[in-house]
Subunit: 192 residues, 4 copies
C-alpha cells in the first residue's frame, strides 16, 4: 500500500481539476468527474454538497498548494526582497505550469458567489506578495507607488502568459522575462 495513494477527496479533486481545466463549468458533468476519479456519483456527494462545492474546493486547494510551497521556501531565503520575489515567481510559475487550467480558474474572477473560505485563502497569497513588495520599498530596493496593484500584475503576468503562450515558453524563460521586467520596472538598483 503506497503511502502516496491519494485519498478519495483528493482523487476526486484531481479528476475535477483535469476536467474543469479543459471545459467550462457547465460542460463538465458531475458524472464525468466521478467516472474519472473511479468512484460512484454518490461518493462525490458524501464529501461535498453540490457540484459548485466541488468546484470551489478544487480552487481552494490550488491556492493552498501555492501557499504551502511558499511556507516551505520563503523562510530559508533570507530577507532580500528580490530573492523573495524570485521565490514567489518560481512558486507561482511552477504551479501554473503544472496545473494551467486550475491556475486560469484561480484568477478567473468569475466565482459567484465568492465564498468566504476561498476569499480568505486567496488573501493569504496576495497579502504575502504585497508584504514582500512593501518591505522592499521600505528597504529602498523598490520604488512602487502602489504595491497592491503590482501584486495583481504579478499574478496576471503569469496567467496572461499561460493563456496565449509563445510557442517556446518555458518555466525559466518566463521567470527571467518577468523578473527582468520587474527589476527594471520597480527596482532602484540598490540592494547591492
Amino acid at each position: 500500500m503506497p503511502a502516496h495513494t491519494p485519498n478519495k477527496p483528493d482523487q476526486i479533486l484531481d479528476a475535477a481539476a483535469e476536467l474543469f481545466a479543459s471545459r467550462q463549468f457547465h460542460e463538465v458533468r458531475l458524472e464525468d468527474i466521478a467516472a474519472r476519479a473511479h468512484v460512484g456519483k454518490g461518493t462525490v456527494y458524501t464529501y461535498w454538497k453540490s457540484k459548485d462545492e466541488v468546484y470551489l474546493a478544487m480552487i481552494r486547494r490550488g491556492f493552498a498548494a501555492v501557499n504551502a510551497r511558499l511556507d516551505r521556501d520563503l523562510p530559508g531565503c533570507g530577507t532580500d526582497c528580490w530573492s523573495q520575489i524570485r521565490i514567489i515567481l518560481q512558486a507561482v510559475i511552477d504551479f501554473a505550469f503544472s496545473h494551467p487550467g486550475v491556475f486560469r480558474i484561480m484568477r478567473s474572477g468569475s466565482l459567484t458567489p465568492e465564498d468566504p473560505d476561498l476569499q480568505h485563502t486567496r488573501r493569504l497569497l496576495t497579502d504575502r506578495i504585497e508584504a514582500c513588495l512593501r518591505a522592499g520599498v521600505n528597504a529602498g530596493q523598490i520604488r512602487d507607488t502602489d504595491p497592491r496593484l503590482t501584486t495583481q500584475y504579478l499574478l496576471s503576468f503569469v496567467r496572461g502568459a499561460m493563456l496565449y503562450p509563445p510557442h517556446d515558453l518555458t518555466r525559466d524563460s518566463l521567470l527571467e522575462h518577468m523578473f527582468a521586467l520587474l527589476q527594471r520596472g520597480i527596482g532602484t538598483g540598490d540592494g547591492r
Copy 2:
C-alpha cells in the same frame, strides 16, 4: 430616429453583457437576456442561432470596439512608440472601465470552442500591440527579448487590476502606474 437609440441586436448584446459580467455562462438564462433587453425569447433567435453565438457576438463586439478606438486614435499620434503605447493603454483601460465584465471575459481564455471569427478579431488587437513594441525595439527605444509575451502582460495588467482593484483605482492612476512600470521595465531611456 435619434442616433443613440440602440438597434435591437445591440440592445440584446447590451443586456447579455450586463448579465454575463456578473455571472457564469451557465448561470445566465437566455430568458434573462431577453427579459432585460425587453424582447421575447424567440426574438433573440432571429439574430443568432444559439446562446453560445450570443456570447461570442458580445465578445467580438468588445474587441471590435477597442480596435475601432485604435483605428481612430493611433494614426494621428505620430510614430513615437511610447506615444503609441500610451494611446493603446488608454484605449484598453477606457474600455475595461466602461465594460469591466466584458473585458474580463474577453481575456478569460475559456471560450469553447474558440471560433475563428473571434480569434481573428483578437489577433487584430494583439498584432497591433506587438507591432508597436517591435517598432520600438527596432528604433532602439525598447529593449525586450519577447514582445509577444509583453503584449500579453499589457492586457493582463489591466485585467488583473480590474479584477481585485484597489479602492482608489482610477483610469488615470492605472494608466500612469502601468506606463511607468513599462517604460522603466523595457524602456532604454533613448528616444528623447
Copy 3:
C-alpha cells in the same frame, strides 16, 4: 371546439388525481402525470413549481369542487337543518364516489407542510357543516355537545366507508345508513 374541453391545468390535475388515487405520492412519477395528461414534462412546470405543488393543487381543487356543489345546492333547500344535512351528505358522498382516491387524500391528514391556501379551502367546508349543525342545535332539532367533533365524524364516515367498503355499497345505501345514524344519534325528533 367543444366548450368543455378541459384547459391544460385541469387536464394535468385530472391525470394527477387518477394516479395519486391509486399509488403513494412517491410511487407516482411526474413523468407519468405528464404522459397521462398528454403534455410534456416541462409543461407541468409552467403551471406549478414542483411535484408537491401539483399534489396540493389537486387536493385544493377537490375541496373547491365540494364547496361549489354546496354553493349551488344549499341555498335552494330551505332552512331545515336535516334537509341541509342531507344535501351536504349527498355532496360529499357524490364526490367521494366520483373521486375516491382524491377524497381519501383530502382526508389523509398527511400533508406536510400544510399550506395556508389548502387550510383555508378545507376550513370553508368544515365551517359550513359545523354552522349547519349549530343552527340545528339552536332550532332544537339537534342535540349535540360538540358539533365540531360531529363535523369530523361526518367526513370520516364517508372516508371509512369508501376505504373498506361492503361489497354492496351504493351512494344511496351509504347516504341512508349515515343519515339514519345521525338522525337517531343527534336528532331530537322535533322539527316536524
Copy 4:
C-alpha cells in the same frame, strides 16, 4: 436486564413510528429512522429486508397492540354488547391518543401493496367489532342494517377526531361523545 428496556427491533419501530407520524413515507429516510433509534443503517436491514417492511411491521405492531388490549379486557366484561362496545372504544381511543400518527396510518388505506399478514391482523380487529355488533342485533339491543359499515364508522370516528381535534379533546370526552352518538344512533333502548 430491566423488563422495560426495549429490544432493538422495538426500538427501531418506535423510531419509525415517531417519524412516519409526522411525515409522508417518502419524506422519512431510512437513515433518519436508524439515527433516531441509535443504530446503524445496516442494522435495520438485519431485521427487515426493506424500508417497506419496516413500515408494515410498525403498522402490524399497532393492530397487534389493540388486539392484545382487547384480549385482556373483553373476556372479563360480560356479554352485554354495550359494555363491550365501551371497552372497544376505550381500547381504540387509548391507542389513538398514545400513538396518533400510527393510528392515522393504520387507517390510511394507502398501503401498497397490501400485505396478507397485515390484512389478517386488521381483520382480527374489525371482525371482533363486527361480531360484537351482530351479537347486539341478535340480542335486540342494536338495530343496524349494516354492522360492517358501522364497524368502519367506529374506527373512522376516532381517526377523524384525532386528525383535526377540537382544542379541548380528551380521551374521556371523545369516548362519551362517540358512545352517546352510537347508543342513540343504533341502540334500541332495550337491554336494561
